[in-house]
Assembly symmetry: C2
Homo-oligomer: 292 residues x 2
């Protein structure tokens, strides 16, 4: 993060902060859901760069350019004063470029995920499941190693399409998870690791958490990077003493979140699938053009 606290107005709690949330697609809506739970009075602007997904198959330079453009839209046109990069690929490959491109604090999902794994693990051996692109970046392994953890990563490329097919409680999905985790645990054992923590390193995976919890060995903790990132954002706003984020006295139910969703293309799929990720209607998704 850089430039913390650029808008002193919010330190007084007079105006709720606007938090920009960015993803290459709409999987980052699970991060937005976790943010809304913790910061129900903030305003949110979510941008899915759906015209240019998947970032995972693109070069680091291309991803950095796309992500910087998206971040600038959220800051310059939506007045976001804090950005959450709710995309593991962009967090892994473009966090520096985004921080250079905008004058507000920028939070990725990988450091909070690794931090939560560090807090959860007693053995110091951690497993990470993610998309192919995130695993190839080895960003989780590096973030874990920086905290003295050993991490073994595995790409699980079938899990995102299974979630998008809606098979989040399906026997096929349970079997695929069983196969992936069996392979991962066997590889960990072969390396002499005794893992006690599993990090969900993809924004789609929280929808599979019940199946994954059932598939892990007894006693293994499951860490959700989306939840971990939302906790880190909450600490940021608490650290700035921003009471706008906390429910006021005498108010029981959280208010309806102030939320605008934007996509660069393919609004239909975003609107159709997004509510499963956000766990509430996403409403009208607005189309924006960030250029080719």
């Amino acid at each position: 993060m850089n430039n913390p606290g650029n808008n002193p107005e919010n330190k007084t709690g007079a105006t709720p902060p606007t938090i920009g949330v960015f993803d290459s697609g709409f999987g980052g809506l699970t991060v937005l859901r976790a943010l809304i739970q913790r910061l129900p009075r903030a305003r949110f602007a979510f941008l899915g760069d759906t015209a240019r997904l998947p970032y995972g198959s693109k070069s680091r330079r291309t991803i950095a350019r796309y992500a910087a453009e998206s971040a600038q839209f959220l800051v310059n046109e939506q007045d976001a004063e804090f950005l959450v990069i709710a995309c593991n690929t962009a967090s892994a490959l473009a966090l520096d470029a985004i921080q250079d491109a905008v004058p507000v604090p920028v939070l990725g999902v990988i450091e909070p995920g690794a931090e939560a794994a560090w807090a959860a693990s007693r053995a110091g051996d951690v497993l990470v499941i993610a998309t192919d692109a995130t695993v190839q970046s080895h960003a989780y392994a590096a973030a874990c190693r920086a905290r003295g953890l050993r991490a073994l990563e595995k790409a699980c490329p079938l899990l995102v399409p299974l979630v998008e097919e809606g098979w989040t409680a399906h026997a096929v999905t349970a079997e695929v998870i069983r196969i992936y985790l069996e392979e991962l645990n066997a590889e960990a054992a072969a390396q002499g690791m005794k893992p006690d923590t599993l990090v969900l390193g993809c924004t789609h995976y929280p929808l599979l958490r019940p199946l994954i919890e059932r598939a892990v060995p007894a006693g293994m903790r499951v860490i959700d990077s989306a939840e971990a990132a939302a906790e880190a954002a909450l600490r940021h706003f608490n650290g700035r003493a921003a009471p706008a984020a906390a429910p006021s006295a005498g108010q029981d139910a959280p208010p309806e979140p102030q939320l605008r969703c934007f996509a660069t293309d393919s609004v239909e799929k975003f609107e159709r699938l997004g509510s499963r990720f956000l766990n509430r209607p996403v409403g009208k998704v607005e189309l924006v053009d960030l250029g080719g």
Copy 2:
């Protein structure tokens, strides 16, 4: 197709024709494989627009622009005198735009697939499985209807990731195919159809053909659009009396194909997975930049 036969030299058989083959990714290598089998002495230039895939989530206008740029690269820079659009989405949404963009004949995969279904079906009722984008275009249904066939289409979004995971003979894949075909046959029965033909409307699906053949009801014919498109290309060159495509007398084994492969990004995945689709090494994939 427009402008058939722009290069009279090939009518004499003096120079083997160059056939350009275009896909948004590398699935179209199954079409290239079928082309090489039938036209072993032609030269081939294959372009996968991997930087901008998947086309399926993009608007028709965007797809048309991308596909036209790719077609122009094959014609203007690789001297292709005949183009095969080995991509169902581009064939469905951009065939006209490609034909307008280049002065050579352009063949898609959908018309040949529908034509082969017409030739195979006695009942006149046809099933089509494809990606979500191809199904949403209803291009197969329209092409079948134009031939007096009734067609029922179903999106099978898990099949591409299962192929790319390499699970082409896996029990999970067999189960997913069983579920999809059961749903499709139930829907056909509910509509009073008696389908006897199944069209594989995605360039990845030929790799699943053995599992699909085992899963269809007895007597159902399976039509592969890749094979059908290659047959149509063969007819084109035979119609022009291009003996370059036929093995010469006294030559038993087909020669090594003259093939150059290009991609706009992500050469690694192309090289790693491509040989499964092409059924031979793809060799070095050359990176080209078609712009944003």
